[in-house]
Structure formats: structure tokens, C-alpha cells
Symmetry: C3
Subunit: 314 residues, 3 copies
């Protein structure tokens, strides 16, 4: 199949074939990152704008480097110094960036739906780099890529997502991607953060850690936003860690070949202890490497790219 979409706004609207096309394209681009010359000319002369209204050094850097390795020109539009202070609307800012002949606008925004809003009136391609608690599609694609790489398949696997599901755009995008690809998804955490309403998305919901991890092929830990949630969502950070934190003892209760994932940055000693985070089952750093490959694939496909394998080094 060929890629036909002009934007990447969410995982919800993609079908399994589209997701698989991104993953197979990303495989070719992962190889580019391992070459002596980590660069291909695919997007030479294209302009990519990083419009990060919510700060994020990691994701922005990953997109920036993905664009650079495709030989695109990248502009980072900082909101710190931007016109938002002067009261300009998001719509006007985006249209001004597009007027610079931008081909792609990558947006992160604290409001759910901001990328979809932009896509309604922009000719440039819009990529959602995280919108509120809604979706973070490239994170789900890199998680799926990593699972496929480690397990050889996704269909039929038991994937447990552990932690703050309610406020997590990563959780939502992961659930869409993994269920579309045939995985069985279990959500686990305190009842305040993992309400039963998620069962409507086709997931099993449990508040019992032992039950959630016993048959898991993959455990995906989400970051506890303890700065914000500590006071309201659970009695104490210590209690969260004692009930849901992953450590050596709990790892002993999992399948021997379980794979541990985390979108980062990790809170060492909160949702995972250091020994487990750095252990042989953890693929946290490989997720970072795969994120770059997946973002190259998305940028490539959205700009009409067809065969990454034929893309010679610059």
C-alpha cells in the first residue's frame, strides 16, 4: 500500500495497514542512524517547523534531528519569545509560519485538538507531537516499533500499561495502536488514575499489580507526574511506589522474557527502581533510538516518500 495522508494527527484514525507501513519504513531509516554518514537527501530543500507551544526538549530534539537527517531545513519556533505574549492567536501564528513556505508544521500543545484545528485550514502537513491528554501518535508508533523489533510480532501479545492512564496522551495513543495491531492491552494503576471507562477502548482494567504483570509480554510504565498529582490523586508518592512501583521482587513475578518500556524521562525510585530501569529487560534507551527512526519515517511518508531503501547517503 501507499501512504495517502497529508497529516499525522492521531492514531485513532489510522488503520492497521497504515501503522504497519510506518513501522516498515522506520526499519529502513533506523539503519541510516547506524551508518558513518547518518543522512539521506530525501527532504532536501523542504522546510519543517517545530511549533512547540508546550515545552519539550526531548521530543523536539528527536523531530529536529529526524528532519535534519532527511536533509530538511528546520526552524524551531520558541513560544518563550513568540508573539503569543502579544496576544496573537494560534491560528495566526500557524498561518504566518505556513506563509514562510513551510512544508510541515510539527505541533505540541497543551490543548487537546490543537493539531486537528490547524489541519482544518493549513496547506502544510501537520504532525501532532502531543496535544494535551489526547494523543501522542509518534510515541505510540515508536512503542509499536520497539515491541515488533523485540518480539517479532504484536498480534496476540499481552501488553500492560502501568501508571497514570487518565492524564496520559501516550496511553491513549498506545491503546489505539496496539489494539489495532491485535495486542491484548491491560491497564493498571490506582483507581483514581485508571478508571473503568477505558474498558470501552477494548482494554482490560485492573487495579491489582500482580494480576496485571503476571502474564504480560510487555510492561509499559508511564511517568508519574508527582509534582502535580501527588496531593490529589493518591495519598503519597511512597504509597504509589509501594503499590505499583516496579522493582526486582516484582520483576520475579513476570514472564522471564518480559520487555520493560518507559517513554521517559523516568523517575528513578518512583515508578521503577534504578536496578530494573538499567537491567537487561529494559529497552528504554532503544525506544529513544527508535523514536528517531519512526519520526524520519513519518516525515518521509507525509512528504510523499515511497522507498526509503533506495535513498542513498548524501
Amino acid at each position: 500500500m501507499n501512504w495517502t495522508r497529508h497529516h499525522l494527527l492521531d492514531i485513532e484514525s489510522l488503520n492497521a495497514e497504515e501503522i504497519q507501513l510506518v513501522l516498515s519504513t522506520a526499519r529502513a531509516f533506523k539503519a541510516v542512524g547506524e551508518r558513518a554518514i547518518k543522512k539521506v537527501p530525501a527532504l532536501r530543500g523542504k522546510t519543517v517547523v517545530n511549533l512547540f507551544v508546550e515545552p519539550s526538549t526531548r521530543t523536539r530534539t528527536s523531530f529536529e534531528l529526524a528532519a535534519i537527517r532527511l536533509s530538511a531545513d528546520v526552524i524551531n519556533f520558541s513560544t518563550e519569545a513568540s508573539s503569543f505574549k502579544k496576544g496573537e492567536t494560534l491560528r495566526d501564528t500557524a498561518r504566518n509560519l505556513e506563509a514562510l513556505n513551510a512544508d510541515v508544521i510539527i505541533i505540541r500543545h497543551s490543548s487537546a485538538g490543537a493539531p486537528h484545528f490547524l489541519a482544518r485550514f493549513l496547506r502544510a502537513s501537520v504532525i501532532n507531537a502531543g496535544d494535551g491528554a489526547h494523543e501522542h501518535p509518534t510515541q505510540a508508533l515508536l512503542d509499536a516499533f520497539t515491541i515488533l523489533e523485540k518480539k517479532g510480532r504484536i498480534a496476540g501479545l499481552n501488553v500492560t500499561i502501568l501508571g497514570d492512564i487518565l492524564y496520559s496522551r501516550v496511553a491513549r495513543s498506545d491503546i489505539w495502536a496496539l489494539t489495532k495491531l491485535g495486542a491484548k492491552v491491560t491497564l493498571c494503576g490506582p483507581p483514581t488514575l485508571v478508571p473503568r471507562v477505558f474498558e470501552a477502548m477494548g482494554c482490560r482494567v485492573t487495579h491489582n499489580l500482580e494480576e496485571a504483570i503476571a502474564d504480560a509480554d510487555i510492561i509499559n510504565l508511564l511517568r508519574i507526574q508527582h509534582e502535580r498529582q501527588r496531593k490529589t490523586m493518591f495519598p503519597s508518592l511512597h504509597e504509589y511506589t509501594s503499590l505499583y512501583g516496579l522493582n526486582r521482587a516484582r520483576l520475579a513475578q513476570t514472564k522471564p522474557d518480559v520487555v520493560l518500556m518507559h517513554p521517559g524521562p523516568i523517575n528513578r525510585g518512583v515508578e521503577i527502581d534504578s536496578e530494573t530501569a538499567d537491567g537487561e529487560r529494559s529497552v528504554i534507551l532503544e525506544q529513544v533510538t527508535n523514536g528517531l527512526a519512526v519520526r524520519m519515517a513519518v516525515l518521509f511518508l507525509i512528504n510523499g516518500g515511497q522507498s526509503p531503501e533506495e535513498t542513498a547517503a548524501v
Copy 2:
């Protein structure tokens, strides 16, 4: 004619032929922005420094992208993290940047005359990206470019500049450029912001909106800096809008082919209402696109470029 200047400090010292050379050069570079590969090798291996002492994401981004599309290397020198905090002088900062073999230093500064000061001792080319309330030459060049593109000529046109003239570097540069090119310039706004002293620059000054817009071929709206001026320069924002804001009713009193311009960012509902800003007479977003072309032209000419038409894609 050939371009002979090493710096672009203001419009005041340019003659009409020089302005026209920039505009015709910009026409060729505008076409570059419409290609699949939006890049030419003209300034390959040149170093351009954006020294923005006064923050401005829009203008900096436009210059940055202009330099990138000419294949120059660009350094953004942020004043946030800079040595100014340590008490270094502007002179020392600029000479240190030049010592990095910079070919061009683009400066925005809150003090009028800062670019001229640098030009007195730097070997690198200096481009004024806005100095206090003095001049903003590339804005005037893009305004002239846009008028020429829309109307086919500038000489003999009636151009009305509306709003805060007194504190506006855009107004001063526009007045110089447009009168040199033969337009008849009318300035309009409250008496506190549009004093009669501007008649000495060859403009008509009026405080009556109807009179200012009736025969205008172009209306250039300036941003009301209402954060600062509201309390001191006019009784209220509401009063400004009711007396001078552009809207559908007032547009009906203009020539049917009037062109509406604004340097951005716009205050929707203050100097212009949304319907008018987004209407078919507005060329506000085209000004942004043209700004990139004009800045490419300036960078090209100042570095000794001759024929942009012969500049092949990279």
C-alpha cells in the same frame, strides 16, 4: 545597476534605483520559495549571525530561513543567555561575533542607531532588523515589494498608513521607501500618535479616518501597542477602535480595489476586525512570504551576488 553597499542600515540613505534592485532581485527569490527544493547554493560557506538584542521570533525566523535557503550557515545569538548579563558592551559582543569570521551580522536592538554604530567598526556586513523607533528597512522593502506585486507600480499610488506612526520604525522606513518610489503617503491616527511634524517627510497628515481612506490604493495598518500606550496616548482601546479601527462598514467607503496591509502580529478587533483581516483585500500573509524573498535578496546582494536567475537549485 549593481549593488555597491556593504551594509543595509536604513532606507533613508538608499536611492530609488537601489530599492528597485532589491525588489527585482526579490522577485527571482520568491520563485525559489515555490520550488520543490526551496534552496540555492548562493551563500554556501558564508556565516550569518542573528544578533537579536530585542526579542522577535517572526523577524528572526524570516532572516534565519532566508539565510538557510541561500545555503548560508546561521548562528542565533540569544541575548537571554548572553554576555550582556555580565556587563559586556554591544561593541565587544559584535566584535567577538565578527571574530568568528562572520560575514553578516543582522541586528535588532531597542536603541535607534545601534546598527549604524556597529557598521562604523565592523568589517562584517550589518543588516538592520529594526532599531528602536528609527527604521526597519526590510519591512519597508517587503511592503514595497507587495504593493508592486499587487498594483504593478508604486509611483502615483495613494498609500495610507494608519495607526501609531510616532513610535513606529515600520512607518518611518515605509515613508522613506514609498516617497522615494513616487507614492503619495497619507498618515492617519490620533493626534498624539500622528503629529504634524511628519509633514516634513513629504506626507499628508490627517486625523480624520474617512479622509485618509477615501482615495487610498493601499491602506497599511500598524499594530497598536495597547499594552503600553493605552493609558497615555489615547483614552481607551475601545475609543481607538471606534475612531480608527478598520471594519466592513469602513471598507465600504474605500476604493473597491484597495489593498490592506499589516506588518503583524495583528490585534484582531483592535486596529482591524477579523472579517476584514481575513477578507479578500487583505494581503497580510503574502507580506510574510514576500518578507522571506526580500531578505534573501538583501543577503544575496550584500554578499556580492549578481544574478539570482542563474542560481541553480542545490
Copy 3:
């Protein structure tokens, strides 16, 4: 000899031959900065990360431009917006950057030893861009380069370093480099800032300015961090200037061909007066230019480069 090191962590562990190799390599790269096309393809497709945990626009810009002129791709990792706010460790941040297939991580950090810490677990090359009061190796290399360029030799020269030695990483790196290359180093300043313990590094220590400058071939002035030290380390800024500030009268007491250096930014009127800083003996701006050449050399050698002379223009 060939360069064999994977990291550049300090000057202390280098031998004289290694230092001389950097200097001779830098000579070739200085010529690149004087070409019309200031760029070579040596590091095309390599990824260089500037990880500046302590802000520094000058040094970061110098490294960034050095990498760009070698055709590397550069990512600036700002700590302002970074994950450090979320409590991530330096180790995790560095490993995440490395997971983006970074080839080189350039680190500045307020803690002495941070680069050595990273080098223990990273596969990427680590370059120390200044760690606390410990070392700033590329500053010492550019100082040695400048001395060699001006004097034709380093061995046997009398080099006086004047000012805040105790808290200066520049002083420590300079002392290591210059004594390894055979210079005789004198340290001078107030007893609180120049303790006798530095004699153990092979230096002469004096608190008498006349004695320190009388036979100096080179005087290297360090910046007085008067914001911090004024109250604690010496009675007043005025007293420092009157006892140790360099000015015309004191310059008359030096050798006629003495060379004046300063790592910048200078405090005009404190450690040096303006006339002397801008005078013909000052090579302060040449140091900036040489810093770029030295950093290109370090990046080139650390990535396995051999003969910069054979590196054609891009």
C-alpha cells in the same frame, strides 16, 4: 603521531605531543575560516550535541560553528527547557542524547568532573567545554595556539596569568598546557585568589604585580567575577583595579613585545582599561578566531580525522 583519544576531558592527562598535534591541526583549520567558502565536509553526517548545563553563549556558539564548518549536524540541548526540571539525572539525559546516535557530546557543567563522569559510560565522544573550577581544555589549547602564532614558540617563554586563579578553570588548563610545552608560568593576584598551593603545579606565585609583569612575554588576564567575589575575596573592586588592573602606566613596565591575552568577556576598567584592551599588544579578538580553529581541530581529531590539509571545500 596520530591522535588516539576518544574524549577530550582535560589537559592534565595529555602529553606535549598530543597538544602539539591539536595545534598543528588547528593551523590548517584556521585557513578554512579565511576562505570564501568556510566549510569542509570532514564530519558530514555526524551528530554533535551541545549539552550546556551551565549557560555560555560564547563557547557554545564557537563549538556550534566549529561543528557546522566541519559539516556536522549540531543539536543544542538547552537546559532551560530540559528534563532537569523534571528531576532527570545527568546520566539519563546524556544516555538519551547518545541514543539519538550522537557521535560527540560537548558538555559544560558547573560541577567539576561531570565530563569524566559521562565518559565512563558513554560510547559517544565527550568534550569538556568547562567543568566547574576544574578545567576548560579548549581554552588552554586556543591560548597555546595564539602564543605559538604570535611568538613562534612556547618553550622558554615567561607567561604571567593575572587575576582570579583560585576559581578559574581557564587558569588550571592553561597551567597544564603551558608547563607541558615548556613555558615558565607566573601566577599573580591577591593572596586570597592566588594561594601558594599552585607552586605545586610548577608555577611561580607572586602577589606583586611589578614583579609578575616585568619579564613577561605573555600576560594572560583573567576575568574578575566581581558580581560574586567582590564582597568576600577582596575589599573592593576599586582596590583590585588599583593593585592589579592593567593600564598604560603598567604596560610601560613590561617588555616592548609583550602579548596581552584575555579569555573574555572583559570587564573594561576592572582587570584592564579600554585603551590597553583595544591596543596593539592585545590579541583578545584573535583568541576568539583561534578558538574556532582549535575546536574544529579537536572535533576533527576525535572523530578519527587525519590530514586536514587534504580536506577540500564542500
